[in-house]
C-alpha cells in the first residue's frame, strides 16, 4: 500500500523555516502515526519481557538458596522453628540440667505439593470436561436444529465470559456443601473401610480425611465447569471449519454417522488439541475459584477427598503476608506458573493457528 503513496518525502522541496505546507504536515503526521503504532507494538514485547525480568530477578534469592530442590521439596515452612531432638528410639534428649535439647530448623520452601495440586486438579478438570465439550461441540455442528444453534452458542460464550469469582462463590456455597452431605459423608461413607473405597477416605497412615467438601474433587469439578464453555466454543469453531466435502466423502463411502464424526475429529485433531491446551492453560492459571474450594492445604495425597493447594491458590493465600525469602519463593512459584502457562499457550496458538491456515488453504 505504501507504493500507492504518491511522492516520497525526500523529493518534496525543502521546507523554509516557519512555513510548512499542508502536504508536508500530513507527511509528518504520517511518520508520527507510524511511530506511535510501532510504539504500541513494542509495548506488547516490553510487557512480556518486563514480566519475565521482574519475576526472575525477584526469584533469584530463592533459586540460589534452594536450587532444583525447590521443585522437589515438600515442606512450606516460612519461619524457623525449634524442635526437640529425639533419640532414635523416640525419647526426648535432655542435657545435664534436665533441659530439653532443641535444634533449629531453618525456613524451607518446596513447591512439589502445589505443582502436584495444579497438575492433578487440571487433569481432573480435563478428564471431565474434554469428552463432554467435544460431544457438545459435535452436537452443535452436526445434530442441533438450526434455530437451537445460535442461542446455545450465545449461552456458551456468555458462560465462558463469567468471571471466575462467580464460579468460586457457587462452588463454595452450593457444590461444597452438596459434596460434603451427599457424597463424602453420604451413602459412600458406608463402604469407607472396603478396599475399593478406602483410598478415598484414609491416607497412608490410616488417618481419615476431614471430608468437608473443600478438596481436590471439588476443585477439579469447579475447574471442569469453568473450562467446559471454553473448550466447547473453540472446538465448535474448529469442527465447523472441517471442509464439507470431507464429511460427505466419508458418508458417500458408506460410513456410519459416528465413523464420519471420527473422521472429523481426526481431520481437526491438532486444532482440537489446541483447544484442550487453551482449556488446560485456563485451568492451571485459575486462581479465585480454586482458592475458594480446594481447601488450601499443600499436601500430596492420592485421595480425591484430600485437601490440596494449587500454585495460583498458594500465591493468592500467602502473598500478602509473605516477607523476604518466602516472597522470593512465592515469586519463584509464580515464575513456574508463568512458564507453564506460556508453554501451554504457545503450543495451543501454534496448533490452532496452524489449523486455521491449513483449513483456509483447503477452501
Amino acid at each position: 500500500m505504501t507504493q500507492t503513496t504518491p511522492s516520497a518525502p525526500q523529493s518534496s522541496p525543502p521546507a523554509s523555516p516557519g512555513f510548512e505546507s499542508p502536504r508536508q504536515r500530513l507527511i509528518h503526521g504520517d511518520s508520527i502515526m507510524h511511530g506511535l503504532s510501532l510504539l504500541g507494538g513494542l509495548v506488547i514485547l516490553v510487557m512480556l519481557a518486563g514480566l519475565l525480568f521482574v519475576l526472575i530477578t525477584a526469584a533469584v534469592p530463592s533459586m540460589k538458596k534452594f536450587g532444583w530442590s525447590f521443585l522437589t521439596g515438600r515442606v512450606w515452612q516460612p519461619n524457623e522453628i525449634e524442635v526437640a531432638v529425639h533419640t532414635p528410639d523416640g525419647k526426648v534428649v535432655k542435657d545435664a540440667d534436665g533441659e530439653i535439647v532443641t535444634q533449629t530448623i531453618p525456613a524451607k520452601f518446596g513447591a512439589l505439593p502445589v505443582i502436584f495440586g495444579t497438575i492433578v486438579s487440571s487433569a481432573i478438570a480435563l478428564v471431565l470436561a474434554v469428552p463432554l465439550s467435544f460431544g457438545a461441540a459435535m452436537f452443535l455442528v452436526r445434530i442441533a436444529p438450526r434455530r437451537l444453534v445460535a442461542p446455545v452458542s450465545f449461552l456458551i460464550e456468555f458462560l465462558a465470559a463469567i468471571p471466575s469469582i462467580a464460579y468460586g462463590i457457587w462452588g463454595m456455597f452450593v457444590l461444597t456443601p452438596f459434596l460434603m452431605n451427599y457424597v463424602e459423608r453420604g451413602p459412600l461413607q458406608k463402604w469407607a473401610h472396603t478396599p475399593l473405597v478406602s483410598w478415598l477416605y484414609f491416607d497412608s497412615h490410616g488417618t481419615r480425611y476431614y471430608c468437608t467438601g473443600s478438596d481436590m474433587l471439588c476443585g477439579g469439578l469447579v475447574l471442569a465447569i469453568m473450562i467446559i464453555p471454553i473448550i466447547t466454543a473453540i472446538s465448535r469453531d474448529i469442527l465447523r471449519a472441517v471442509p464439507r466435502a470431507q464429511v460427505e466423502g466419508t458418508i458417500a463411502l458408506g460410513a456410519t454417522w459416528w465413523q464420519s464424526a471420527t473422521e472429523m475429529f481426526k481431520f481437526s485433531r491438532s486444532g482440537l488439541f489446541g483447544a484442550v491446551m487453551l482449556g488446560l492453560a485456563r485451568a492451571a492459571g485459575e486462581t479465585m475459584a480454586v482458592t475458594m474450594v480446594i481447601g488450601n492445604t499443600p499436601r500430596i495425597a492420592l485421595s480425591l477427598f484430600s485437601q490440596a493447594q494449587t500454585m495460583a491458590s498458594l500465591l493468592a493465600s500467602k502473598f500478602v503476608e509473605a516477607e523476604d525469602l518466602e516472597r522470593s519463593a512465592l515469586l519463584e512459584v509464580g515464575l513456574i506458573l508463568l512458564i507453564m502457562s506460556l508453554v501451554f499457550n504457545v503450543v495451543a496458538r501454534w496448533l490452532v493457528v496452524g489449523k486455521d491456515s491449513r483449513s483456509a488453504a483447503a477452501h
Partner: protein, 314 residues
C-alpha cells in the same frame, strides 16, 4: 432432499445392523446427552447465581413482602457502604464503594489500555507487514493474553506497590491495563483486517496520506466492531479479582484517594464470602449478580454488533 449427515442416511445405504451402526447410534445419542448435561450444569450454576443474587435485592429482614413497602431498600446495594452492625436500621447496607471502585479502576485502566491496545492493533494490521517485528508482536500478544491474572497481580505488586510501600488504585489499574492491552490489540487487528482494501486504495488515490487513511477511513469503517472488542476487554477486567488482591486490596468505605487501599467489587465479594452473617454473604451474591448482569449485557451488545457486521459483509 434428505439431510445428508443425519442418521437416516444410513438407511439410504441399506439397513444393516452391524456393530458399527449400533455404535454410531449410541454415539449420536451420547453427543446429545453430553450437550444436555453441559446445558444442565450451566443452567444450575447460573440459576443459583441469579436466584440468590436477586434475592439480595428483594429479600430483607422482613422477607420477600418488603419489596412493596421498602422497595428503596432493595437498591441500597448501589448507594450504601457495607455496614456490619446489625442494630443499624438500614442494615444490610450495600456495596456502593465496590461498584464505584470498580468503575474508577476500569476508567483508569481504559485511559492507558485502550489507546495502547488500539495502536498495537493498527501496527499489526496496517504497518510493516513484512517487518521482522510483526509476527513476534502478534504471537506475544496472544501469549500475554493467556498469562494467569494472578501473575499479573504479583508483577504489579513488585513494580508499583513494593517500591512505594503502599497499596494504590494506580497499581490495580495498571494490572488491569496489562490484561486489557493484548485483548484490544488482537480484536482491533482482526476488525481492521475486515475493512475492504478498496477503502484504503480509494483514500490514497484521492491523495490521502497513510495516517489520514487510517484515522479517517479505516478506523471509522471498523469503529463499531472495535468498540465491541473494547467492551469485551472491559467485561473481562470488570470480573478480574486475582490481579487486584495484592494491588488495591479493597476498602470498606467509599474513597477517592487513589494512593491508598482502594475498593473493588470483585475483591469485596471475595472478602465477604468469608464473613459470618447471612446478610453479608447475600451481599456477596448481589455483587456477583451485578457483575454477571454487566457481562451479560456486554455480551448481548457484542453479539448484536457482530451480527450487524456479518450481515453487512456478506
Amino acid at each position: 432432499m434428505t439431510q445428508i449427515s443425519a442418521p437416516a442416511s444410513i438407511n439410504l445405504i441399506g439397513k444393516r445392523n452391524t456393530s458399527a451402526h449400533v455404535v454410531s447410534r449410541a454415539m449420536y445419542a451420547t453427543c446429545i446427552v453430553f450437550a444436555v448435561i453441559i446445558l444442565a450444569i450451566l443452567a444450575i450454576v447460573t440459576g443459583y447465581l441469579l436466584f440468590i443474587g436477586i434475592s439480595n435485592f428483594i429479600w430483607h429482614d422482613g422477607g420477600w413482602g418488603q419489596i412493596f413497602t421498602h422497595w428503596h431498600g432493595s437498591l441500597s446495594f448501589f448507594y450504601r457502604e457495607p455496614i456490619s452492625d446489625r442494630k443499624d436500621a438500614l442494615f444490610p447496607g450495600g456495596m456502593a464503594n465496590g461498584v464505584l471502585g470498580t468503575i474508577v479502576l476500569i476508567g483508569l485502566a481504559s485511559i492507558v489500555g485502550i489507546p495502547l491496545g488500539m495502536l498495537c492493533g493498527v501496527y499489526l494490521a496496517e504497518y510493516d507487514q513484512k517487518s521482522f517485528l510483526t509476527a513476534p508482536v502478534r504471537f506475544v500478544a496472544d501469549v500475554v493474553a493467556g498469562v494467569p491474572s494472578i501473575v499479573v497481580g504479583i508483577l504489579f505488586y513488585e513494580l508499583l506497590v513494593l517500591p512505594f510501600h503502599r497499596n494504590s488504585a494506580w497499581a490495580g489499574a495498571a494490572a488491569l491495563a496489562f490484561i486489557m492491552i493484548p485483548i484490544i490489540a488482537r480484536t482491533t487487528e482482526e476488525m481492521l483486517r475486515l475493512v475492504p482494501n478498496s477503502y484504503r486504495e480509494a483514500s490514497m488515490g484521492l491523495g490521502g496520506t497513510k495516517a489520514g487513511t487510517i484515522m479517517r477511513v479505516v478506523i471509522p469503517a471498523a469503529l463499531g466492531s472495535i468498540v465491541t472488542g473494547v467492551m469485551l476487554a472491559v467485561a473481562r477486567i470488570a470480573g478480574e479479582t486475582a490481579p487486584l488482591l495484592f494491588t488495591v486490596v479493597g476498602n470498606n468505605s467509599i474513597t477517592w484517594n487513589l494512593n491508598d487501599r482502594f475498593p473493588a467489587l470483585t475483591v469485596q465479594v471475595y472478602n465477604y464470602t468469608n464473613r459470618n452473617t447471612p446478610e453479608e454473604k447475600l451481599l456477596a451474591w448481589g455483587g456477583i449478580l451485578v457483575l454477571i448482569s454487566l457481562i451479560f449485557v456486554l455480551n448481548l451488545a457484542i453479539r448484536y454488533a457482530t451480527r450487524q457486521r456479518g450481515g453487512g459483509a456478506h
